[in-house]
Amino acid sequence: MKDKIMDSLREFGLPRLIITGFLVLLLIMAPFVGADLPTQISNIINRFSWNGILVLAMVPMVHSGCGLNFGLPLGIISGLLGATISIEMGFTGGMSFVVAILVATPFALVFGALYGWLLNKIKGGEMMIATYVGFSSVSLMCMMWLVLPYHSPNMVWGLAGKGLRTTISLEGYFDQALASIARIEIGNISIPTGTLIFFAILAFAIWAFLHTKTGTAMTAVGSNPVFAKAAGINVDRIRMLSVVMSTWLAAIGILVYEQGFGFIQLYMAPFYMALPAVSAILIGGASVNKASIMNVIVGTILFQGIVTMTPTVMNNMIHMDMSEVIRIIASMGMILFALTRKTEASR
């Protein structure tokens, strides 16, 4: 019995244990140091709603054995293109959100297909190359944001009349487009019902997909590609599909993030966006080749919990804002831990 507990603890992993324990501690400490718990919880829920889909975007690629999608920025760029083009076309309000999704989709599909084709050529080295594909595309787009013929006065630099600004306000466009739907306000707690439902729909769709014939094949490819090949599966095609799905989800994810956050951030902003999403899903219990919807939900809550709670609680406790440092160490430590595990399917 004792062995079993030890085993499951080992499976869970020390870093994950520390992080969960840390969050629990923060929650317990919060009232004592004078932080307002409802506000905190409301913050966590809101941030969860912004980030959930970006974390969800990890799932398909992990399932097909492509590893953690460090190339998330590629999908994010598709989303940014969708958002900016939608505004450029003159759509406003909720409609601009719908158009943004519609415009982002073809970009995500094309970029995803190219990215998937590339990853199929370099099986085994996905994660490092994905990181740099993300970086290259972000820096390429930095030039593009300056060059592409955008004219909407709300987006371009006022003086030059061209080149997109680094931060674009979404007021009047799709700010809170989802969050304002059926929003529930109880005292200090504000629940963005619409965003949560949207996340739930996508999460359900992924869950359902994994229960279909193709979804089953995807899991099998990730679990043992040779087995899948011997069972007549076109491994490359399934992997390609998973990459396209991940990229598309990232595109949608960034749009949902922006509607909550209220701003579009361009240029170098998408650069490091993959790392929080990667560490969130790992904190939620996923490994390099196994991930579930539950991992996404738990991970996003834990990660965002730490991000929101540490500044207030720590500040009040030791009068030092160590939140940034703690976030870095916790998330990078988690990724390091996952990378050093023997995660190749047991042979």
Binding site: T212, T214, T216, F227, K290, S346, R347
Partner: protein, 529 residues
């Protein structure tokens, strides 16, 4: 060779079991300085286990060590690691090359034994900062190559060398060790051309004259007779014969290698399918499967029969099913049921309903991290759309968990798979039960032809019988043609109707299963490369 000198090596009563499975029984062997011993036997006879014990291989100690005593120069020894064996003067050349590809021959010959020169830095920071003494390295490598008696370019990079020279580099490495007194050569001629093999034999004679004893493992019996002083034959973990080479012949060795006491295999009905139509026709097949290269195989399988494919390890019998199923690069033509099947596409094979049970259970055969249900149902679901519920006019194909559980439980009962439930993960089962899951997976496809590769490898006797019975039943009751590849001739003779023997990547002959073991044995050794 001096027959009267004291023995260099004495092995007394060596016994070894792997988890209760006896692989060596009471081996007694003696070797004098300068003596060349030829060690023959089928694969699985225990030759390599015996050599591993002598050489202190790690997996021997890990599996509980061995019984019996080994004396070297009259001193009792028991090596825990290969390094201890090397220090005591034993050298071994393995079948797989252990060479650094980007180093030249000299660097490989002296790998980690390079002569060094001290310098000021190494005085402070330790010996690893000594510089290499390149000229001394060159001299030593030159001497070792001279000792071997075969000329190779010592400045040539390994990755640009022909395989034969790689083999010689390894031998030279052993010879460069001053303390070397006993050299074990594990099938060294397998990769050599005829001329190279001949010069190797010369070099073995040369070593023997210098007083180095050699244990020479090979399937080429002619070589054994020409170079060895003594021939030892092993079979099923027993040393069946140990005679001076002058007193034996190829025929006699073959006989003791394969010849179980005739009559043990019970008489059984053998189906003659000569009249039946040809269901599978393989023509001029080549397969690039590492270690199991198929060079040129043409073969016809008749409908409804069980065809066995036998042969020694490394001769290419495993390459045939793997190549046909498209798991390794292959060429040639394969015709199934009158239809040409493109190679390199497992999907096409499965669609034309022939299934494959791989010899590599853990690597190819199973989803180790998934449940038995997934393992059993997966191919049938993907290929034949079984176990799926269709919604929206077939647009959504939903996994039918209930149907999957039912079929899995059916096979769990039928094949007596020992497990806690159909949800148990495949990796938690024992080897025999995993094999049964692989069979269930293939059965669930309801194929017309089933390829089974090494169905009994690494499983215990009880499970073995069950697996073979299941195969036979599947053939006889469902009329499914079975092609079974196995290294164990006896098992093939018990199960199959006809047996094809593969040797040197080619079919060396096909015989009815009730032919004598000697006939099979001769075929096995005929084309060995």
């Amino acid at each position: 060779m001096d027959r009267n000198s004291a023995p260099l090596l004495t092995m007394q009563g060596i016994k070894k079991d792997f988890f209760g499975n006896q692989v060596l029984e009471d081996i007694n062997l003696e070797l004098r300085p300068g003596e060349v011993l030829g060690l023959c036997g089928e694969n699985g006879a225990g030759k390599s286990t015996l050599m591993k014990i002598l050489f202190g291989a790690a997996d021997i100690a890990e599996t509980g060590g061995y019984e019996g005593d080994i004396f070297l120069d009259g001193q009792k020894v028991s090596f825990q690691t290969p390094f201890e064996a090397i220090a005591a003067g034993i050298g071994m050349v393995h079948q797989e090359f252990s060479l650094i590809p980007g180093f030249d021959a000299t660097e490989n010959i002296l790998l980690n034994r390079e002569p060094e020169k001290h310098n000021y830095v190494s005085e402070i920071f330790g010996d690893r900062l000594n510089t290499l003494d390149r000229s001394e390295m060159d001299t030593r490598a030159k001497n070792a190559i001279e000792k071997m008696g075969v000329e190779i370019d010592r400045h040539m990079m390994i990755n640009t060398m022909p395989v034969g020279h790689k083999q010689f580099t390894e031998i030279a490495r052993e010879l460069s060790k001053e303390q070397l007194r006993l050299l074990i050569l594990d099938e060294p001629t397998a990769v050599l051309t005829e001329r190279e093999a001949a010069s190797l034999l010369d070099s073995i004679r040369g070593m023997s004259e210098r007083g180095i004893s050699v244990i020479f493992i090979t399937h080429r019996l002619q070589e054994v007779l020409s170079v060895c002083d003594t021939v030892a034959v092993m079979r099923d973990g027993v040393l069946v014969e140990c005679v001076p080479a002058a007193e034996t012949s190829v025929a006699a060795i073959t006989k003791s290698m394969v010849g179980r006491s005739v009559g043990t295999s019970q008489k059984r009905e053998i189906k003659n399918s000569d009249g039946a139509k040809t269901i599978l026709k393989i023509d001029r097949l080549w397969v690039d499967m590492p270690g199991e290269t198929v060079r040129d195989v043409s073969l016809e399988v008749k409908e409804g029969e069980i065809l066995g494919i036998g042969g020694l390890a490394g001769q290419g019998k495993l390459g045939i099913p793997n190549g046909v199923m498209g798991l390794y690069e292959a060429g040639g033509t394969v015709e199934f049921d009158g239809k040409v099947i493109p190679l390199g596409s497992p999907r096409e094979c499965l669609d034309s309903s022939f299934a494959f049970v791989s010899e590599d259970r853990r690597g190819v055969g199973l989803l180790l991290d998934e449940s038995l249900e997934w393992n059993v149902a997966f191919p049938a679901m993907q290929i034949q759309n079984k176990f799926l519920k269709k919604y929206l006019g077939g647009l959504i194909k939903w996994r039918d968990e209930k149907a999957i559980r039912e079929v899995t439980e059916k096979y769990i009962n039928e094949l007596q798979i020992k497990c806690t439930s159909s949800k148990q993960r495949a990796k938690e089962l024992s080897g025999g039960n995993q094999q049964k899951v692989c069979l269930a997976k293939a059965f669930a496809l309801e194929p017309k032809l089933l390829f089974v590769s090494e169905p009994t490898r690494g499983i215990d006797v009880g499970a073995k019988a069950l697996v073979l019975d299941a195969l036979r039943k599947f053939n006889r009751e469902n009329g499914v043609t079975v092609v079974m590849v196995s290294s164990e001739l006896e098992e093939l003779r018990m199960t199959c109707d006809r047996i094809a023997i593969v040797s040197g990547g080619r079919i060396s002959g096909i015989l009815p299963a009730d032919s004598s073991t000697e006939e099979f044995g001769t075929m096995m050794l005929s084309g060995v490369v």
